[in-house]
Symmetry: C2
Subunit: 762 residues, 2 copies
């Protein structure tokens, strides 16, 4: 990676600040927290997919020694919650089921006991009488006439469609009438698991001052704080949410969840700390997942390959509750018209309830589905029109200055360069001509957002805020509610701050993600928002500090007002007189003197404004998968992955590399093997082995390059990295498999069985 | 207590915010903290009072299983430390002795082991070869010609006088020549222990980010942070000091101490957390203590009882190191001329090294000694001049507007009212006439400072600072580095904040005394500084919030600019239109809207300015002790204590009451029984039983009244309470004993043996 900008800390592959503590095993995750007198909690989950709760008998469980508390839906406030606070009627969950269960795994009761065994035993002793109802286990069953109504108390225009969204611009019907090529395809994409290494866990403590503290494995401490407050009928700021180390989230930990409520509620009720830790089985059988979708995509091209328009109809299989479905429904429509210029576009998305574990936010969030469709159709069109897939993309690719109607104007954009680069690196045109039988080369591309704008959580705060305290010992302390969940923002934000102040990251102490002490508020880690948004806030806070210190240096050297001043190497100096330098610490000392003892503190906030309702900046990239398909077994081996991507300035290239590797892993699983096998709402694949998550040895080698852009709205030119990258892998692999076998996949995952069937071998 | 001010929260005896958690045993003190992999530390202390260290052999100790680290003075940076950073040459301690030990208990080595037993065993196995030197165990021995030089590397004008102080004003020699009555007396006062319930303890952890955290039982986290930084050669802000619950300090926990250094140093050296907890025996035999003093006081009166002047010569027996001796030396001279108007005054104080455990700061700090002398001489003069002790005091008492030359002008002053009140309450004049044999009534008075001004620690920060975050849920969060060590400032500061904002204390979350997150900086809890100084900072921070919220209310109701606005009952409203009220939370919400999402935060700092070099405000009071002395045994029984005192507005009267009871207990022990019996530098009284701390059953009944004043420089009129109150008890009891026996004590403590000798019975 090269850059015209002369950065000192930004752009360097510095080791993560959490690397050592994690490597030695000293990092404390929520489950590592033990408090005196702490109880162990366990949830009773519904064994049936759709039923009325007729009665719950907890007497035998209560009689069990060691059991300290049992709660059911009858004990808790009848308050629904959900992340879409802006649309209160979308909030459709109770922390524990009241009257009705809607999926296998729906939380029915919670136990807290002296030990885990007693808690589990108590769960088994709770007797629940259910009156089973017919279930709907697919979009089709849910929307069929006379199908079961899953949320009967919540009025919907079409039963079980909890919400829908339309986007329309241009004259689509006109172009469909005139187009040279129309592709009209149905796709299905499946649910996959976040498969974060750390199952959800939390410890709640209610203190002697009437306040609640919860340590929880979350991506969004502020959401948990607010939603616990509403469901517990407490004031937000009587609740303190602390994010300990978190072992991955990928969108699966960005809501308040029932165990957080139950831990808090029981802790308050009986005055003892309570811990809940989910098992892997619970995570896989009842956890949030990527939205399965039924997609009908009709796309029109001119004969020379220009995109004329697209009609995009999506039914999201949302499972039993809305969860983050409204956003998925919203974003999928946006992603359907990104990456290329679609002059005419019509989207209809509907979020459909089914009696399955709810889908939620997941890395890429609408993009992997929309782009699997878009990229597959691009590859089909290229073939049908006799244009190289790279060329047809270059013709239609977005570039800087392009507008997505009603959404945004593209600022930095390295998409075309990514395409050119990836074609060069793979020797694309030559290699495609010389494929042996069973070999395939496929292309997939992506664009993604750098954080969202639409304020569905209805925060009253700026989207993010940073406080930077500068000290005369040459250190600074960064306080932010940005949440490192393994993606590395603790390091990245320190790099941004160090760069701005001319310090080293070792000069920076960080306190993050504690709602009681870090600045109000940050919306959390999702939508690839942290580097750009929290980074901008950090930079602004640092700039406040700089302004103050520059005055001191100016005073000390009696500088002319036109002098440019710089921070660098721990010093502050006039740009043209670096000999006249004051150390950072000495400048702070002067500033404190000048304020007669007041500390030197800078504040910065960031909320995207004048950026439409989607995002302030878009990332782009292209990926080529080289595969071999075993002609006998249909097994796909990905031999090599080549990626060129534009994430603006990579603040920490090694960290971006890590994101890319993780994305390839996740994309690989999505494309080829991961899936929830379900039977009437019951998840059968409840271990990683059955679920078929790729192993380390399944990972292909690969190479990637950063395409140089500088995002004017990002800190030091940075934008999204690592979430969008999950999208191109499935369409690239599917395209390679097509090249290798002639089977064009429009129904993920791409299992050997489907390939063999596609090859007419079975 | 009554007041003209119409307070809602201030002046109310609200339960302490820490009452419940302490009552149920859930409060975590430093020794309650357990970290994974934590080691237990133990100190090796010198068994000899003055010696050169010739060699230390740790090999046998190191070979002991379970021993993980041993350090001696040879392993640590050769950096001296001490609280008087303003005068670097006064910093005379190494964390572990290097080359020389100076008292029995001087820290020589430290061990960290897997368990306490191994640490203790290892301490026994360390072999130290000493070359003993002659010791000086009293001021006389120390100042005798040819006495041992205790700090030979540190040049002194007079050997073993580490520092001295002079005060002089008026024409003292002239008034001595003209006075009608001159009292010329020698007094000795002894050392007593702080006897805090919680022995010192700390846990240090060096993290994987190169930073150190220490939880320590301290009154002054900032001091520990700074002095650890200098002795560990770290940057201040790479060190985080957290004050957990602290079980009393009384001045004994306001310095960095060797175990804090050793815990930190070993934690850094070997990468494991380390805990040190002192034993009661260590505390009593080696801990800091009140300065013993030899005092020569010559005081002149006119025949009508007017004080003409005073010459006050004090030798402080400082023990082996300066510790807080410079301040004691400074304050004793100030206290010698307080309470009454001394038109002419000369003070000489000298801090003398001896081979004993160092004396340090202790509740009252120079005042109990100076006032025992002043009050005793006042009682003697009253008798000699035939004036009632109350009357002679009233004639000379300071009052509002009086000036102490070079020190301060007295602002609020309820001294005369206290005297009148205590005389009324005890029926003083009548009761004194009707004493039976063995009965006595005695009077003692005090004045004290409300925090110090002279910046001996050389902080670069304001003396205290508060941050108040206001939330739209109607709560506020107070962040302060003020340290509650049991005296109750967590409650008092919340009362001040609640009063200012018209809230209840339950609306206030408090985060305190954590150098990494609470505002830089606060000097700590000592010198009765917290209520006034931190209270003022809190009030200023709250006023910033009010200003901002008042604008919102004004906007909402389109108020004329001249409207007075009020906070009360959780609302903000125009004073004359309370119906036009906005809830506090709604006003915050409006303010946030007006700032487009910025949080509502107020900051306040306080540093006394234009208040001289001693204190911004003085408390006053008078106390009468009623005693009976057993004529056979000389045993004194205090039958009743009556106190009238002026602490300005008592923020929490119940808390002041608690301070008073504690003061009586401490004053009782100081007057009658507590003492360190020592032999050649060795403390023989190493248990509370031997040391003779008064028990609950020794406590006399009593009554107290607050005399109403309003201190203009204090928050809501408050000033010092609870430290000055420790001074009047000893002179009052001694005066009562004189009345009962004819024995005038000028040599504390007032043991039965001395009384019997004074009565010529032995």
């Amino acid at each position: 990676m090269s850059t015209d900008h002369n950065f000192s800390v930004v752009g360097k592959s510095l080791p993560r600040s959490d690397a050592r503590i994690k490597a030695v095993g000293a990092a404390q995750y929520a489950d590592d927290i033990f408090l005196p007198g702490m109880l162990y909690g366990k949830l009773l989950r519904s064994p049936v997919a759709h039923a009325l709760i007729k009665s719950i008998d907890t007497s035998a469980a209560e009689a069990l020694p060691g059991v300290k508390c049992i709660i059911t839906g009858q004990n808790i406030p009848k308050i629904k919650y959900g992340n879409w606070r802006l649309v209160p009627e979308s909030q459709d969950e109770f922390a524990l089921a009241i009257d009705k269960v809607r999926f296998i795994g729906d939380e029915v009761a919670a136990v807290a006991a002296l030990d885990k065994d007693s808690a589990e035993e108590a769960i088994r002793l709770i007797k629940v009488e259910y009156e089973e109802l017919p279930g709907a286990y697919s979009v089709e069953e849910s929307l069929a006439d006379g199908g079961p109504v899953i949320h009967d108390e919540y009025k919907q225009d079409i039963p079980n469609i909890s919400l829908d969204r339309k986007i329309e611009y241009g004259e689509l019907d006109k172009v469909f009438a005139e187009a040279d090529l129309i592709l009209d395809d149905h796709f299905t994409v499946h649910a996959v698991s976040h498969a974060y290494m750390e199952p959800c866990a939390c410890v709640a403590e209610y203190d002697h001052d009437g306040r609640l503290t919860i340590w929880t494995s979350t991506q969004a401490p502020y959401f948990v704080q607010c939603l616990l407050a509403s469901t517990m009928e407490m004031r937000e700021n009587d609740i303190r949410v602390i994010k300990p180390f978190v072992g991955g989230g990928f969108g699966g930990k960005m809501e308040m969840r029932p165990w957080e409520f139950c831990a808090a509620f029981i802790a308050r009720k009986i005055g003892r700390p309570v811990k809940f830790t989910l098992t892997r089985e619970e995570e896989l059988s009842t956890g949030r997942r990527r939205h399965p979708m039924n997609i009908h995509s009709k796309v029109a091209f001119s004969k020379d390959g220009m995109l004329l328009g697209k009609e995009f109809n999506v039914h999201l299989d949302g499972g039993a509750y809305n969860s983050m479905g409204p956003t998925a429904c919203f974003l999928c429509g946006n992603f359907g018209a990104m990456l290329y210029n679609y002059p005419n576009y019509r989207y209809y998305g509907a979020h459909v309830y089914t009696n399955k574990p709810p889908a939620g936010a997941m890395r890429g969030f609408g993009a992997p589905q929309a782009l699997f469709v878009a990229e597959t159709q691009m590859n089909v069109a290229a073939e049908k029109l006799g244009i190289d897939p790279v060329d047809i993309r270059l013709m239609n690719a977005m570039e800087s200055g392009d507008e997505i109607p009603g959404v945004a104007t593209i600022s930095s954009c390295g998409f075309k360069e990514s395409l050119v680069k990836v074609a060069e690196m793979t020797d694309w045109r030559e290699k495609r001509k010389n494929l042996k039988p069973g070999q395939g080369l496929g292309l997939g591309c992506y664009s993604f957002i750098s954080g969202g704008v639409f304020n569905w959580f209805n925060t009253r705060y700026n989207f993010t805020r940073a406080e930077v305290r500068a000290f005369d010992d040459g250190t600074v302390h960064l306080m932010t509610m940005a949440s490192d969940i393994g993606q590395g923002c603790d390091t990245v934000l320190r790099q941004i701050l160090a760069e701005e102040l001319g310090l080293q990251i070792t000069d920076i102490r960080l306190t993050a993600a504690d709602t009681a002490v870090t600045p109000q508020a940050d919306l959390g880690t999702w939508g690839s928002r942290v580097t750009l948004m929290a980074g901008n806030a950090v930079r602004k806070a640092a700039q406040e500090i700089k302004e103050e210190l520059f005055k001191m240096v100016s005073l000390k050297f009696d500088l002319n007002v036109i002098h440019d001043l710089r921070c660098g190497d721990g010093k502050i100096y006039p740009a043209n007189r670096p000999d006249r330098a004051v150390s950072f610490g000495d400048a702070v000392r002067m500033a404190q003197r000048a304020k007669r003892g007041e500390p030197v503190i800078g504040y910065g906030s960031y909320t995207p404004r004048n950026k439409g309702l989607v995002t302030p900046a878009f990332s782009f990239g292209a990926q080529v998968a080289e595969c071999e398909v075993d002609q006998e077994t249909g097994a796909v081996e990905v031999k090599y992955m080549t990626t060129a991507h534009d994430c603006g300035t990579p603040i920490n290239p090694m960290s971006v590399e890590g994101q890319l590797e993780g994305s390839v892993h996740m994309g690989l699983g999505y494309a080829l093997c991961e899936q929830f096998i379900m039977k009437e709402g019951k998840t059968l694949t409840t271990t990683f082995l059955d679920y078929k998550i790729p192993c380390a040895e399944d990972m292909p080698p690969g190479v990637s390059v950063h395409v140089d852009t500088y995002e004017p709205d990002g800190p030091f030119g940075a934008k999204e990295a690592g979430e969008g990258l999950v999208s191109p892998t499935a369409p690239a692999i599917a395209d390679a498999v097509y090249a290798a076998t002639g089977y064009r996949c429009m129904d993920l995952p791409l299992t050997p069985q489907k390939i063999l069937a596609g090859m007419k071998k079975i």
